[in-house]
């Protein structure tokens, strides 16, 4: 094994791997740690398929230097489930047909998670802004926006 050792918290558990020289967080997560939920889309920070949360804020894993997350809290779509089942936001995506090919979905989920943690009662415009850096070529975005708004409503009603 070669590369720079990087340890961090991944979805609440200690994690670590070896980063290639100049390697990005997406490679570390997918190949070093084995979490394949963040997707490789463009490799230039344009599509959002690799969106993860670093210390609660959305970041594009493909343009995040792997070494820069040492000691930090990283969350991916792999941590959104409710036990063996889907989390509420994931279920809302299913209920509203917000995923077709599904490639953008993990990034959309993480962008939406960051929004809902910051603003449990987002406006439609706030949702559109929150996923503004995430490209979907299947759904036309409306089902995704509806799913996020529905998840917010569900969380409020459950409180």
């Amino acid at each position: 094994m070669s590369g720079t050792p990087v340890t961090f918290t991944l979805n609440g558990a200690a994690a670590g791997g070896f980063a290639d020289p100049g390697g990005n967080l997406l490679d570390l997560l997918r190949r070093g740690v084995g979490d394949r939920t963040p997707k490789y889309g463009c490799g230039q920070g344009s599509c959002g398929a690799c969106t993860v949360l670093v210390d609660g804020a959305p970041r594009l894993a493909c343009i995040t230097l792997a070494e820069s997350v040492a000691g930090r809290d990283v969350r991916t779509a792999a941590g959104l489930g409710d036990g063996a089942g889907l989390g509420a936001l994931q279920q809302a995506f299913v209920d509203h047909f917000a995923a077709q090919c599904g490639y953008c979905t993990p990034g959309m989920l993480m962008a939406a998670t960051a929004l809902l943690e910051r603003d449990p009662n987002p406006s439609r415009d706030a949702v559109v802004d929150a996923i503004g850096g995430n490209i979907c070529r299947c759904t036309g975005y409306e089902p995704i926006v509806e799913a996020i708004l529905a998840a917010a409503r569900g969380a409020r009603e459950a409180r």
């Binding site: 020289p21 990005n24 962008a111």
Partner: protein, 263 residues
């Protein structure tokens, strides 16, 4: 693959820079080249120096650390006037990475925030202790930037406008910023800056001259609109042709100056 060197201070990072090295701030520009094998250097130099972070507001002077992110600028309570320019950069995840210092190095058609700083008459502070006007810095774009500072504009004097085809996060067809100082009810010492209209953010000198001493109304700004692109040769790219930029710039400038649509 390039080797990463992380230094505790900006001074150490400066000493480590040189041939075969490139500085990495937030990563939103440099990591693209790394990913595509196009970096062209053997070493990436970065620093965790806390002096490069943060936003300081001291009386009428505002200093943005080079490592302050667009998200931090957009969320700063004292910088509401600057939020539209910070929010013009990418989507939320990009804004959590993209830094003030990095935006000064962003190639066309990026660098919207640098356009705002240019209109504000910002000064660039580099790690060797020297400082240069941003307009001059943009000629060479060299050195390790530690911060950017500028005088707080009078209330309502700063305007920013971005024109894009894709909303909410799309690259600029063009963007414009203006500092509309006034004296005795007329414009005075106006600064107008464009992005997307040249290889780097530029001042619209002819329009600035035409705005001197005129009232800020339709009649007053008309001569400036006629000179909106004087001396400029806008590029043609995938977003727009040179002709399109040239033809539409006066309309966008009118909207910027008169606040007709802050879009």
């Amino acid at each position: 693959m390039p080797r990463v060197e992380t230094y505790a201070t900006a001074a150490e990072a400066v000493r480590a820079l040189g041939p075969g090295a490139r500085f990495l701030g937030g990563g939103s520009l440099v990591m693209i080249d790394v990913n595509h094998g196009a970096l062209g250097v053997e070493r990436i130099v970065r620093t965790t120096d806390p002096a490069l972070r943060g936003i300081r507001v001291e009386s009428d002077r505002i200093t943005l650390g080079a490592h302050a992110t667009m998200a931090e600028v957009a969320g700063a309570r004292d910088l509401a006037f600057l939020a539209p320019a910070a929010l013009a950069v990418g989507g939320p995840a990009v804004r959590n990475a993209a830094t003030v210092g990095g935006n000064l190095f962003a190639p066309h058609p990026y660098g919207d925030f640098a356009v705002a700083l240019l209109a504000l008459g910002a000064t660039v502070h580099v790690a060797d202790g020297q400082e240069r006007p941003l307009d001059e810095f943009l000629d060479e774009r060299s050195g390790l930037v530690t911060s950017v500072s500028f005088r707080r504009p009078d209330g309502g004097a700063f305007r920013f406008r971005k024109v894009r085809r894709v909303r909410p996060a799309g690259a600029s067809v063009m963007c414009m910023a203006a500092l509309l100082n006034r004296s005795a009810g007329r414009l005075s010492n106006v600064c107008v800056a464009y992005g997307g209209m040249a290889a780097r953010p530029v001042r619209a000198r002819a329009a600035e001259t035409a705005l001197e001493g005129v009232p800020l109304d339709r009649g007053g700004v008309r001569p400036a609109l006629e000179r909106a692109v004087e001396g400029l040769d806008p590029p043609t790219d995938a977003l727009a042709s040179s002709w399109y930029r040239r033809e539409t710039a006066p309309v966008q400038l009118r909207r910027l100056l008169l606040g007709e649509d802050r879009g």
